[in-house]
């Protein structure tokens, strides 16, 4: 028991022991905050665009179909004359909405299971660990396809599928964190002072988990979005005329051989940029919030 503090430090290889101290931390933190702000603005812009752009731009205009990118239609138009910029923004917004719901659900599942595993004793712990291993060993895409197919496809199927497959890695992190917290001195002291398990879990442990949850949430986001795109690309998700980014990409593949490259290029690029923005956001947030790197 006496060695617990030492163990804690040793188990965190990511903790910088010397790095950061010699760096001009002030500027670096500023730059990080700037990146966070920029990414957040970009994402907010996508959502605003997707919501504000009226349906008229995604309605069919058979007289201007297959128009190459121009000033009026920066992303070009498709074979029904629908504005690809508007379709892309709407698709990304839908992806974001799905990402939001699924990431929230995944974090919820991860938190509950992680807490249960770490606090309810050995049997529950081994059960949940087994479940985590099981879900981690299944390929995500296959599981999502199975789940969304059995639920009859549609937005609901995709959401449930993605939510049910993305919690295990975060649940494992939370479980490990709690296991460490359990043997932390302040927790032990609190227990000895007669506090209940519940009181300790909510007052002492949960606050320590907030940064992990927060960052886990943001990092799950791009993962969920790409899997949503993947499953709709393969045709197991949404109805083919819904402007989901995966559907836009899979439809565009058909027209590539006819030389209409902009149907795939811009939506694909936008998806990449959005996912990258989330990555930057999550990564920088983690470094800013995480106490272990907060002094960098």
């Amino acid at each position: 028991m006496n060695g617990s503090q030492f163990d804690m430090a040793a188990e965190r290889p990511g903790r910088p022991l010397t790095g950061g101290i010699c760096q001009p931390g002030f500027h670096r933190r500023h730059r990080m905050a700037g990146m966070v702000l920029l990414s957040a603005l970009l994402l907010a812009g996508i959502v605003a665009g997707g919501i504000l752009l009226g349906d008229s731009r995604v309605a069919t205009h058979l007289d201007i179909r297959n128009a190459a990118p121009s000033l009026e239609y920066p992303f070009g138009t498709d074979w029904l004359g629908r504005d690809m910029l508007a379709r892309t923004l709407k698709g990304l917004t839908l992806s974001l909405a799905i990402g939001l719901i699924t990431a929230t659900a995944s974090v919820g599942i991860a938190l509950v299971l992680g807490l249960m595993a770490a606090t309810l004793g050995k049997t529950v712990d081994s059960c949940i660990s087994w479940l985590i291993d099981l879900f981690l060993s299944l390929p995500h895409l296959v599981t999502i396809i199975l789940i969304s197919f059995s639920l009859g496809g549609g937005v609901k199927g995709v959401i449930v599928g993605v939510a049910l497959t993305h919690w295990p890695s975060l649940a494992r992190i939370i479980r490990a964190e709690i296991l460490q917290l359990r043997s932390a001195e302040f927790v032990l002291t609190s227990r000895k002072l007669g506090r209940s398990r519940w009181w300790v879990a909510t007052r002492h442990m949960l606050p320590h988990l907030v940064p992990q949850l927060y960052v886990g949430f943001v990092l799950l986001f791009p993962h969920a979005i790409l899997h949503e795109a993947g499953v709709t690309f393969l045709g197991f998700g949404l109805s083919p005329q819904q402007p989901a980014i995966g559907i836009i990409l899979s439809e565009a593949m058909r027209y590539l051989s006819a030389g209409i490259w902009w149907l795939a290029f811009f939506p694909g690029l936008s998806l990449l940029i959005m996912v990258r923005a989330f990555d930057v956001l999550g990564d920088n947030l983690r470094r800013l919030i995480d106490p272990h790197s907060a002094h960098e």
Partner: protein, 532 residues
């Protein structure tokens, strides 16, 4: 770890898009394959059930391996194939067909009337799409004479005789569909499911000898087939209209007229019923004829042809445009928003709450239009048609479904379907009240006793002209009918042209107007094909 996988996924997507984009820009290659004695065709449409005419193979004509009693020539006139002639008794119940004596199957055994009797009896019992309920019996009266007896007179029985290829009684077993034997212009060599079919010229064939000794049919997706054409790997390629604007070096585009049509079928009864299998029947909005007629009047069929089919088609107003039994008076004025609005207003539909969607008795004018998700042309037609009726205040929500789902939903929702055949019998299948809910026939439960009566008379007529007169009246008799002018259970939109890329120096003669099904019909006159 998770992050790494994300980037792998993302990079994979990006690379796929790039590679495909580049290949789209690359110049087409062509290799000169003139003078070779074989052809490679990529015309899609692998028949799932194989090549057995008794379960539906070749029911639109030209079964390739087998031959039929009668067939339709280039001008769609009935001519003899196996038959040398036929007679119908005065009461229209007995059809006597005399056949050639010199015909052999590709295995060398002679084709006799017993094979024909066997084929028709097997087809009648097959419980497949082949409909022979009208036939009471079939009998081989002699080696070269077959007698069909019908339950009631049916002028359109002649079309049945063009649609069933004759199978050999001695070699028709369980795996016949996988290894067909027949008396047609080609004989079966090999079928690799999902990949290719190889056939050879049948030396025993009694008709004109085909100009090619071997044909290979590749079963490719639309874009893979197009890529094969660009790479010079195929001689005849079926392509969707969307690709028809892009020239391919070494190939020329042939757009063949067809009676292959696309349209929206509406439930015509109110919701509440169920089929035998428990699927819901009826829709309260589309049960109102005014809605169906307004949609028919509002859609701009010409714009659909130009915009979605790239001009490779014609507007469709009925199930049988330009065929001998078509009633030209049944054609309506379309692209007429004001006319459509008037129809709706007269029927009591108005937008009381100002949300852009009409209401009547607190029921909103909205319903779902389902299309098969795998068919891009039908998807585009559905989306465009839905946008065209939006200004009326009718909200057609489009939704893509699998064919399995469509079977359960097509009686209670509007569906984008297609038909197209060289026989007026099709009108009977699609509109006759007793065919409601049978297979894909009459999914909307349309029923009009006057129309039924005209079709009964048409079927009972003994002469083709007399029959055609009744078929026309069934469409529109001046006061009612099954067309858009009458009850409008369908909104027909377009007749497709079937587009093929054909190698420059291959002469495929004059293809006849093709039925439903893009692909196989092009082989109908394959015996005439030759290198230029």
């Amino acid at each position: 770890m998770a992050k790494k996988r994300i980037w792998q996924l993302a990079a994979g997507l990006a690379i796929m898009a790039l590679v495909a984009g580049l290949s789209g820009c690359a110049g087409p290659k062509s290799d000169n394959t003139a003078a070779k004695n074989e052809l490679v065709l990529a015309i899609n449409a692998e028949p799932e059930g194989g090549f057995d005419p008794t379960t539906g193979w070749g029911r639109y004509g030209s079964p390739l391996f087998q031959s039929t009693l009668l067939k339709r020539d280039k001008d769609l006139q009935i001519v003899n194939d196996l038959a040398t002639g036929y007679q119908v008794s005065a009461d229209g119940l007995t059809w006597t067909v005399k056949i050639r004596k010199d015909v052999e199957f590709s295995d060398g055994k002679p084709l006799t009337a017993a094979d024909i009797q066997y084929t028709y009896e097997t087809a009648q019992k097959s419980n497949s799409v082949v409909d022979l309920t009208i036939m009471k019996s079939v009998e081989a009266a002699d080696d070269d004479i077959v007698v069909f007896t019908l339950k009631k007179p049916q002028s359109a029985f002649v079309d049945v005789l063009t649609g069933i290829g004759i199978v050999p009684k001695h070699a028709h077993g369980k795996d016949y569909a996988q290894h067909p034997i027949g008396s047609g212009p080609f004989k079966f060599v090999q079928w690799d499911k999902g990949q290719q079919l190889i056939v050879e010229a049948n030396p025993k064939y009694y008709g004109p000898k085909p100009g090619f000794s071997k044909l290979t049919f590749l079963f490719l997706s639309e874009d893979a087939a197009y890529a094969a054409a660009k790479a010079g790997k195929a001689d005849v390629v079926a392509i969707p209209p969307a690709f028809s604007k892009q020239p391919v070096a070494g190939m020329r585009l042939i757009a063949v007229d067809s009676v292959d049509n696309r349209g929206i079928v509406f439930p015509t009864v109110k919701a509440g019923g169920k089929t035998e299998n428990g699927y819901p029947v009826g829709n309260d909005v589309t049960a109102d004829g005014a809605i169906r007629k307004a949609i028919n009047a509002a859609v701009d069929r010409k714009a659909l042809v130009d915009g979605i089919l790239e001009g490779q088609g014609t507007p469709a107003y009925t199930i049988c445009d330009r065929l001998p039994w078509w009633n030209a008076d049944a054609v309506i004025n379309d692209n007429d928003l004001n006319g459509a609005k008037r129809i709706l207003a007269e029927a009591g539909w108005k937008d009381a709450d100002g949300d852009g969607i009409l209401e009547k008795d607190s029921r909103k004018a909205e319903f779902t239009l389902i299309y098969p998700a795998s068919d891009k042309t039908r998807q585009a037609l559905a989306i465009a048609a839905a946008d065209m009726v939006k200004p009326l205040g009718i909200n057609m929500r489009t939704e893509g479904k699998s064919w399995d789902d469509i079977k359960t939903l097509m009686h209670s929702n509007a569906v984008m379907l297609g038909w197209g055949s060289h026989t007026p019998l099709e009108m009977y299948y699609v509109y006759y009240s007793k065919n409601s809910g049978i297979d894909y026939y009459n999914p909307g439960y349309y029923s009009n006793p006057a129309v039924d009566a005209y079709m009964d008379k048409a079927l009972a007529a003994t002469g083709q002209d007399e029959a055609n007169g009744y078929w026309k009246k069934a469409q529109w008799d001046g006061s009612t009918g099954l067309s858009a002018k009458g009850d409008a259970p369908w909104a027909w939109l377009v007749n497709l042209k079937h587009c093929y890329l054909v190698r420059e120096n291959l002469d495929i003669g004059q293809p006849k107007i093709e039925p439903h099904g893009h692909g196989w019909p092009i082989t109908d006159n394959i015996a005439e094909w030759h290198w230029k």
